[in-house]
């Protein structure tokens, strides 16, 4: 398969899941949480290189392990303790970059981790990305209604027998998996925006939570495809280009919502 088809397959898989997951990130004000995880992913790269481990697995493990750490630090059931997250987020960014350059002795190009390297994916990489995205997507679909309920009102859902706390933690783990996978495709600095920007644009236009998730998935896909097209035709880096397209979509959605 040509590299561009592989890139499109991986990008679309991530976009279709990042759209709906991003809705929760927006609704629950977890933008900072997403960024912290992305920076933790970079720490994963450093650790993986230093100990000579499989990079994808190390990134995934570090992202998943940061969830309990973040919960411990923020010490609240509704997250968003922005100071604690800020410390954790930037500390892992700094430690990650330091350890990567220590491990690779300055020969490694950091930018592929910061901005992604969607055009360099192998067939095995893409298969892994798709499998992970399907897993996250299926779990999200199965618990969608309950997750929406918990997001609307934690206690109300609990009284009606919804295991609110467990669902919240599960959502965080799902985001961690998506960030770990997405980071290798669109980069640590930009995966957060793929979660937030399409969802925010969809929120301006949709009439109910479910439609918002679909529109968000469509917007995220359009952003990825647009980014790849820009990369193909005018030779810009694919990850940042995708975010540029997503931002354009958001601006357009904002204009539309102002008109109506």
């Amino acid at each position: 398969m040509s590299f561009i088809a592989l890139a499109a397959a991986a990008g679309l898989a991530i976009a279709l899941v990042a759209g709906p997951v991003g809705c929760f990130v927006v609704w629950r004000r977890m933008a900072y949480f997403g960024d912290s995880l992305a920076h933790a992913a970079l720490l994963g790269v450093g650790v993986g290189l230093m100990l000579d481990l499989n990079l994808s697995l190390t990134i995934l493990a570090v992202c998943l392990l940061s969830v309990p750490l973040i919960l411990l630090l923020t010490n609240s059931q509704h997250v968003a303790d922005d100071t604690a997250l800020g410390i954790l987020s930037h500390a892992s960014l700094a430690i990650g970059i330091t350890s990567v350059s220590l491990a690779a002795g300055g020969t490694l190009d950091l930018s592929s981790f910061l901005f992604g390297d969607i055009l360099a994916l192998s067939e095995a990489d893409v298969a892994t990305v798709i499998a992970m995205c399907i897993t996250v997507g299926v779990v999200l679909a199965k618990f969608w209604r309950q997750l929406v309920y918990v997001t609307i009102h934690f206690e109300l859902a609990s009284v009606e027998g919804v295991p609110s706390r467990r669902l919240e933690v599960m959502l965080m783990l799902l985001i961690a998996v998506l960030v770990a996978v997405g980071m290798q495709v669109v980069g640590a600095l930009l995966i957060g925006s793929l979660l937030i920007v399409p969802a925010a644009a969809a929120g301006l236009l949709a009439g109910n939570p479910e439609r918002m998730a679909w529109i968000s998935a469509m917007f995220a896909s359009a952003a990825i495809m647009g980014g790849l097209a820009m990369s193909w035709f005018i030779d810009t880096p694919a990850g940042p280009s995708a975010v540029v397209v997503a931002t354009g979509i958001f601006a357009f959605a904002k204009l539309l919502s102002l008109r109506s």
Partner: protein, 251 residues
């Protein structure tokens, strides 16, 4: 044991502070119990323990097996970017459409179904939350400050509505209120608390109890004055209401 809910010798401590001390409370079918007390008195904590959202430090909380609880929180605020209509909000409980529409009619919110949750006024929000609680066919309704953000006429109407619903569904009600006089007619038992139970009983006996007067003594007059004021601009035909309340004030 026939009680719907039985709280026995509840103690609750949080970060070294005693919030509840030896609080006991029971509720039977059809009974309306109101918790009153100053802010920080532990009313909401007690409600959360009754709902099973919090575990007491010591003491026991037992609910009747498979007790269906309808919970009315103070308010529901969703993110501006969450497109949530009243209808979609109500549909988070699994119930039939027919029942949903019947209940909306009972609490007069049919016209709000397509409204966004964030655009509701205080009174509309409380009615929507009440409808939500009724969807689970509750045997026990738990309301935490059900009249917050509602104007005084609306408050009296809401209490009346809660009382009517309790009678019609024969369900017990546990509610938190800050104003004894507004709930007086709509409640069977008042529990006046300030981290412990100061006094409890029929609303009229509580309102004369020294422990109550010590806690609330100074608050009584302004709330009644406000109540009267609000009825001053009622149209002709309802004047007797104004007169009655004025007389009560003088008494």
């Amino acid at each position: 044991m026939s009680n719907l809910l039985s709280l026995q010798h509840i103690h609750f401590q949080h970060k070294g502070r005693t919030i509840l001390q030896d609080v006991s409370l029971t509720l039977d079918a059809g009974q309306i119990v109101t918790l009153i007390g100053p802010s920080g008195a532990g009313k909401t904590t007690l409600v959360r323990i009754a709902l099973g959202l919090l575990k007491p430090s010591s003491g026991s909380c037992s609910r009747k097996a498979k007790l269906r609880i309808g919970y009315v929180p103070q308010k529901v605020v969703v993110n501006q970017l969450m497109p949530l209509t009243v209808e979609r909000f109500l549909a988070t409980s699994n119930c039939e459409r027919k029942m949903l529409h019947d209940i909306c009619e009972q609490v007069s919110i049919q016209h709000l179904l397509n409204q966004r949750m964030n655009n509701l006024s205080g009174g509309e929000m409380q009615r929507v939350l009440l409808a939500k609680a009724l969807l689970v066919k509750p045997q026990l309704l738990v309301l935490d400050e059900p009249v917050q953000g509602v104007d005084v006429t609306g408050q009296a109407e809401l209490y009346q509505l809660i009382q009517d619903i309790s009678k019609r569904l024969h369900c017990a009600v546990l509610m938190v209120s800050h104003d004894l006089h507004l709930v007086m007619s709509a409640t069977d038992t008042v529990v006046c608390m300030n981290n412990h139970v100061c006094c409890h009983g029929h609303p009229e006996s509580v309102s004369a109890h020294p422990a109550y007067l010590e806690l609330f003594g100074k608050n009584i007059e302004p709330s009644l004055a406000l109540y009267t004021h609000h009825h001053n601009h009622v149209h002709d035909g309802c004047n007797h209401d104004v007169a009655n309340i004025d007389e009560e004030n003088k008494a």
